[in-house]
């Protein structure tokens, strides 16, 4: 049973993988369990986040349930 973190762009290199299964829980708990470099990279204010395919603006209060997908989207490099 797990939630999924998805890393786009250069965040994939920091994470070492395009996605990572994590234990469900609050975003704070999930981030605290990540390597420091990765946690700092996804906390960059320019990184947007999407929960189950929907962009969200406020990071506060996010709790990941089983099978949720939370994507971290760094600034796009253009089409």
């Amino acid at each position: 049973m797990a939630a999924q973190l998805v890393f786009l762009g250069r965040l994939q290199d920091v994470a070492g993988a395009p996605s990572l299964p994590v234990s469900p829980g609050s975003l704070e708990t999930v981030l605290a369990a990540l390597p420091t470099e990765l946690a700092l990279a996804v906390l960059d204010e320019r990184v947007r986040i999407a929960l189950n395919g929907e962009l969200i603006t406020a990071r506060g209060g996010i709790v990941l349930a089983d099978e949720d997908e939370l994507a971290f989207l760094p600034p796009v490099s253009g089409g």
């Binding site: 762009g9 250069r10 796009v76 253009g78």
Partner: protein, 163 residues
């Protein structure tokens, strides 16, 4: 795996045909423009832009990644807004993802309108929005090493032209 996503809609109110596609394999823009043009009898002007992978600066390959839940819906919304803004008859947006090599088309935008100015501006506007707002991440391989491409200030400046 060869996958393509396509979103095609002819809206009920305004008679505008919107065709938005994400492709993972090489495509021939010319083969798309003929049918797109033929689908709009009575048009006054059609403007097409094709972007290709530059061979300059020792670039060996380009890789475009995206986030499926957002990318195609975002392109579809852009197409609908642009078609409405410029009063288009039709708008075609085709974008590659995956691994590309110099000389391969990345993007093709074609706008059909009753008048020249609307077709040209709609194509220009669509490209500026694709470059700065669509959910694509690019990295290029030079000298055997991959480098992520960071956003450029020019792209935001281009976007600002459209208010």
């Amino acid at each position: 795996m060869k996958t393509s996503w396509r979103s095609c809609r002819r809206s009920a109110g305004a008679d505008v045909a919107i065709d938005v596609r994400l492709l993972t394999a090489p495509f021939n823009p010319g083969a798309l423009i003929g049918p797109f043009t033929a689908a709009h009898p009575g048009l006054g002007g059609i403007c097409t832009f094709v972007g290709e992978v530059r061979g300059a600066d020792g670039v060996e390959a380009l890789e475009l990644s995206h986030y499926a839940p957002l990318t195609l819906p975002g392109m579809q919304a852009l197409a609908e807004a642009t078609a409405a803004r410029f009063g288009l008859l039709g708008l075609l947006i085709v974008h590659r993802t995956g691994l590309l090599h110099p000389g391969e088309p990345i993007v093709c935008v074609s706008a059909a309108a009753l008048h020249r100015r609307a077709a040209i501006d709609a194509t220009d506007c669509t490209m500026d929005h694709l470059k700065s707002e669509s959910w694509f991440w690019k990295r290029e391989r030079r000298g055997g090493n991959w480098h992520w491409i960071e956003p450029r200030g020019d792209d935001y400046a281009s976007l600002a032209r459209w208010g």
